[in-house]
């Protein structure tokens, strides 16, 4: 319980002179809603999701919302961010497209060609699983270890491209978190298409962000495995060619403290070129941490939008580490609480800011 730290909700701070103007879409973990707010925290649109969200929803250029929902038919409901169902909703909330697979997990990505990139759980063969080090023996999921498969699916549901992690990754090469349970191995939590068609993916339990060559399935680049990252989320490709990552900082190696940070990596040189960790001198940098969930987004004006998932806090910082906007999810899913000191979850999967010139916003006709 923290009255002081969790009591402030809604808009906290807005410097409209430096913030990137637009609407912010975010997906609370509880409450089956996706919400869109303006820069002063006013709700301008809300989608009532037919299913509880399994991950962050995104607004497509066509004005529809694409999200992963939790399906009753999911095969592994206790694995984190298992969904089982993808839905595309128009602004009125009608389902205009749907795809179901009981092994779907985390968020889908709509590709340029109209297909959808998805991630599913797939069992890691015993011979490979036994070589995976790290994690307490016996913490497998009913004796099995689950890995990831990334697929490109057409609108009619046909799988036209597939990449199975354990066919391209060796347990010896991808050092796994020593503390996490052995129910999953790589534990993918994000997949995106790059402008040249290659795939950018984040594997949380091996602390690795990687670029997969679509044609060959080869891993062209990977980073973070050596401990540079700690259970990261949401890598994205920037116009300057760099990769932006939300480094959660959970289970950090050799560090007894927990900090989250956002890092920008020049992947061709293999070096970190920018990071947001809080202002110079480390003033109260321990105020930035989310063990799970979360995402980050580089905005056209050079600012970065950050969603600190576990606290429901979405904020925007300049490249000079200054805070220019801060908002805390004010629409938690739970019913009203019985006493002022009772806290409730306002956890958010992630958030995206859309500028007023984004086609999806005009398509929504708000």
């Amino acid at each position: 319980m923290s009255f002081a730290r969790t009591r402030i909700k809604g808009l906290v701070f807005c410097d409209s002179r430096t913030a990137f103007h637009g609407l912010t879409l975010y997906t609370p973990v509880e409450g089956s809603s996706a919400l869109m707010i303006d820069l002063i925290g006013e709700r301008v649109h809300q989608w009532k999701l037919p299913h509880e969200a399994a991950d962050t929803a995104r607004l497509l250029p066509n004005g529809n919302l694409l999200y992963a929902g939790k399906s009753k038919n999911a095969a592994l409901p206790d694995l984190e961010c298992t969904g089982g169902l993808l839905q595309e909703l128009n602004p009125a909330g009608d389902v205009v497209w749907e795809y179901e697979d009981q092994y779907l997990h985390h968020a889908p990505f709509r590709m340029k060609n109209g297909n959808t990139l998805v991630m599913k759980w797939i069992e890691v063969p015993g011979s490979t699983a036994s070589k995976v080090k790290g994690g307490e023996a016996g913490t497998e999921h009913e004796g099995r270890m689950w890995g990831d498969v990334i697929q490109e699916i057409k609108r009619d549901g046909r799988v036209i491209w597939e990449w199975i992690a354990h066919e391209h990754m060796k347990p010896e090469e991808f050092h796994r978190c020593a503390l996490c349970p052995r129910d999953t191995w790589t534990h993918g939590n994000s997949c995106k298409e790059l402008p040249n068609g290659d795939i950018l993916v984040s594997f949380a339990k091996i602390n690795t962000v990687a670029i997969i060559e679509k044609q060959s399935g080869k891993i062209l680049w990977h980073w973070g495995t050596g401990g540079e990252l700690a259970h990261q989320h949401a890598p994205s490709y920037l116009p300057n060619g760099n990769i932006l990552i939300y480094d959660n900082g959970y289970h950090p190696q050799g560090l007894a403290l927990n900090f989250s940070r956002v890092v920008e990596v020049d992947w061709k040189k293999g070096e970190m070129v920018w990071s947001y960790e809080g202002p110079e001198g480390g003033m109260l940098k321990m105020l930035f941490f989310s063990s799970m969930l979360s995402n980050c987004q580089r905005l056209p004006n050079g600012n970065t939008l950050v969603c600190e998932g576990m606290t429901g806090r979405i904020f925007e910082v300049s490249s000079f580490q200054t805070l220019v906007w801060e908002y805390v999810n004010a629409f938690p899913g739970k019913e009203t609480v019985s006493s002022p000191s009772e806290s409730r979850s306002c956890t958010v999967y992630g958030a995206y800011r859309y500028g007023y010139d984004y086609p999806g916003l005009s398509a929504m006709k708000l």
């Binding site: 319980m1 994690g135 403290l257 809080g278 109260l284 940098k285 063990s291 799970m292 000191s341």
Partner: protein
Amino acid sequence: MSQVSIAKSAYKGVTYYDKKKAANGYTLFSTYNYDVWLIDMEGYIVNHWRMPYSPGSHQWLLPTGNMLHAGMIKSHEEMGLPVEMTAIGGVLVEVDWDSNLTWKAMAPYSNHDIRPMNNGHVMYHSYNPEGILPDEVAKKMKGGLPGTEFEGQVWGDMVHELDRDGKVVWEWKACEHLDPVKDMSCMLEKRTLWPYVNALWICKDGNVLMSLRAANEAIKVDYKTGKIISRHGKGKIFHQHDARELDNGNIMILDNGNHRPTYGPNYSRVIELDPKTDEIVWEYKADFPSDFYTPVCAGAERMPNGNTVICDSWTGRIFEVTYEGELVWEYVSPFIGYQVGMATTMMWRAHRYLPDYPGLKGKDLDPGRFPRENRMFGPESFMKEFVPSVF
């Protein structure tokens, strides 16, 4: 001034107070600077000590009315030691109500915890070069990140008892009594230190209860022989602090939950263990568990009325809950200190003293003695209702 988060840092001072349910008294703490504060339940400063040394760990108000304080002479950097050995102190200081020095003893390499004893002695622990593990023990030691020893060596903890002349009258070396396999280190900790003692408590039977951070357990050590009588909490506690024996004989521990082997979410909790069965008989966790998370430091005290006063060090917060887990008091420190290369509002530990505590007898507790401090850091200077800023 640039902020990391306004939402999380805007409220200061006492933010919640239920007069009827709280264990009303005075709270002692300091925040890694030269000031030690005693506040009342409304957040008024009733005493302020100005110390010659910044704290290496914490302070206790003794039954005599004096204050025992562990001070830092040189930082770990000045001593050429790695950051894991932060909070190296070096000196124990006792001052009276007006900050006049009444006792001082050197305590080389003293680390986090100090424990005043009934006979006037002080027990403290250290990362001491004398405690360095012999090579054959270090080789057997399991856990920790491979290759992260400090200059190839593992520093083991030592515990010392000083008498009023500053002489060491009792000493204990961890590497002579712990099992390098059974008491293995956390897999993600560095192998610089082992087992990383971070709390000392003298039990009713005179034996010593210690909390071992890297080994993720609490142990009871026989004062006469140094042997380990019992181990507690293994598998239940992770990077815990402040293991103490309660009046009912149970052991209360602040389970920080850092490096807990779950995929998430993070949370801290206070647990009460039955020492005979190691079963958890009471637990406090936040309603939404990750709202209370302090990866380091922290502690908890049980009050006579059943409440528990919890020091959430990481967020510079001290709060109190009833036995049923209901919040009855919360205080957020407005003071800023410096630790581990960061400006921070952290405090190592806080202690609540009830009005009938012998150490408060005859003491002037009028906040009017500190008008300037109370103007700046007392309840009147902090906002009661937050209003967002829009530019």
